[in-house]
């Protein structure tokens, strides 16, 4: 059980990197990047987890009861929102690339080659 979280992290990162390397489409590549980012969320939450601890919100249970690490949760939280905005930015770039070049195939998108 204790290895499972790290295995999920490795698996998510692995398929994300493999997808990015073998990607033939820019939008697919952005999706793979998001999968890689999900691996970091699982990793951070896994690092902060404590057996037998509750959420770090002391509303129902009084302060002092064991709770998981709030710092990594704060990281994950801002990470998710910022990565959503970054994905939107990358997709906007993809749209513009498609308008200019007519393709999103990464094989045909050589940045330094002028369009004919």
């Amino acid at each position: 059980m204790s290895v499972l979280a790290w295995c999920v992290v490795a698996w998510l990162l692995g398929i994300g990197v493999y997808g990015m390397v073998t990607s033939r489409n820019y939008v697919h590549l952005i999706g793979c990047l998001s999968v890689c980012q999900s691996a970091t969320y699982v990793l951070l939450l896994g690092i902060g987890f404590r057996w037998g601890a509750g959420p770090p919100i002391f509303y129902d249970h009084p302060p002092g009861t064991p709770a998981v690490d709030p710092v990594v949760q704060a990281f994950v939280l801002t990470d998710i929102v910022v990565s959503a905005a970054m994905t939107a930015l990358l997709l906007a770039i993809a749209l513009q690339v498609h308008k200019k070049r007519g393709t999103l195939d990464t094989q045909h998108l050589r940045p330094l080659r002028p369009t004919e």
């Binding site: 902060g48 002391f58 509303y59 302060p63 709770a67 930015l89 906007a92 770039i93 513009q96």
Partner: protein
């Protein structure tokens, strides 16, 4: 570069990075037994020092508030860049349709659909505002609630169609919301500085534990972040929706 060559290049990269990562992985604490004294200290101190029950919020807006200021600047920069890239000719004259693919059958929306979308859009927006306002008390906060509230606008589009959507959401308003939220956060950092305190120092009265107003300056930062996130995500949504619109009139010349 073909896919095979990319995979071949990946192998040495993985060898170098993998060995470095293995070193770090072996020093990780075992699952469920964290070594993070910092987090545990925050758990103890947040209710005592700041009267807030949500320790995550206290980390984000108080103990590590400067970090979150940086994160929010990243968010605003990313959204601004995306909006600048997408901004084209808009359907201001109001006779365009969006999201139609020519040659595909077009069915009218049923009244039930319109009603449900209006109801749920309102409820979702209110729920988002609720999550923002209770950020220091229960799970939630500016980032989460802002995204929830902004997602209610998709339901407006689904139920009302393009014209309702255009009439209700105005891009300058959304961008202004984004800017005002960001500016309010910066002011929260700068005003204590002007009075001789540290940046983001919690100088306001702290309020009561478990109360809607608890945490002093955190409440204001929380609402500021919520406003900025609502504005940013709604602006993104608007610009992406505008991309699906097919203009009827002559298209303006594009810069090359």
């Amino acid at each position: 570069m073909t896919t095979r060559w990319r995979l071949i290049v990946l192998v040495p990269v993985l060898l170098v990075l993998g060995t470095a990562a293995t070193e770090i992985i072996l020093t990780l604490p075992s699952f469920g037994h964290p070594l993070t004294r910092y987090g545990m200290t925050v758990n103890t101190l947040a209710p005592a020092l700041r009267n807030v029950s949500n320790a995550v919020t206290s980390v984000m807006y108080d103990f590590r508030g400067i970090d979150t200021l940086g994160e929010e600047s990243m968010l605003i920069c990313a959204v601004t860049a995306a909006v600048m890239l997408l901004r084209g000719r808009r359907g201001e004259d109001g006779n365009e349709q969006a999201g139609r693919v020519s040659g595909r059958a077009w069915a009218e929306r049923s009244d039930a659909m319109v009603l449900m979308c209006r109801l749920f859009a309102t409820m979702l927006f209110l729920f988002g505002v609720y999550v923002v306002l209770h950020g220091t008390v229960t799970p939630g906060g500016g980032f989460q609630g802002g995204v929830i509230a902004a997602s209610s606008f998709t339901l407006l589009y689904l139920g009302g169609g393009y014209m309702v959507w255009r009439r209700m959401l105005h891009s300058p308003v959304l961008v202004a919301l984004e800017g005002v939220g960001g500016l309010a956060y910066v002011l929260c950092a700068a005003v204590p500085l002007a009075f001789g305190y540290s940046a983001l120092q919690n100088v306001l009265p702290l309020g009561n534990w478990k109360d809607l107003y608890s945490g002093g300056l955190m409440v204001i930062i929380n609402i500021a972040v919520g406003i900025a996130v609502i504005g940013s995500f709604a602006a993104l949504l608007l610009e992406f929706m505008e991309e699906t619109r097919v203009p009827k009139g002559p298209v303006a010349e594009e810069d090359t």
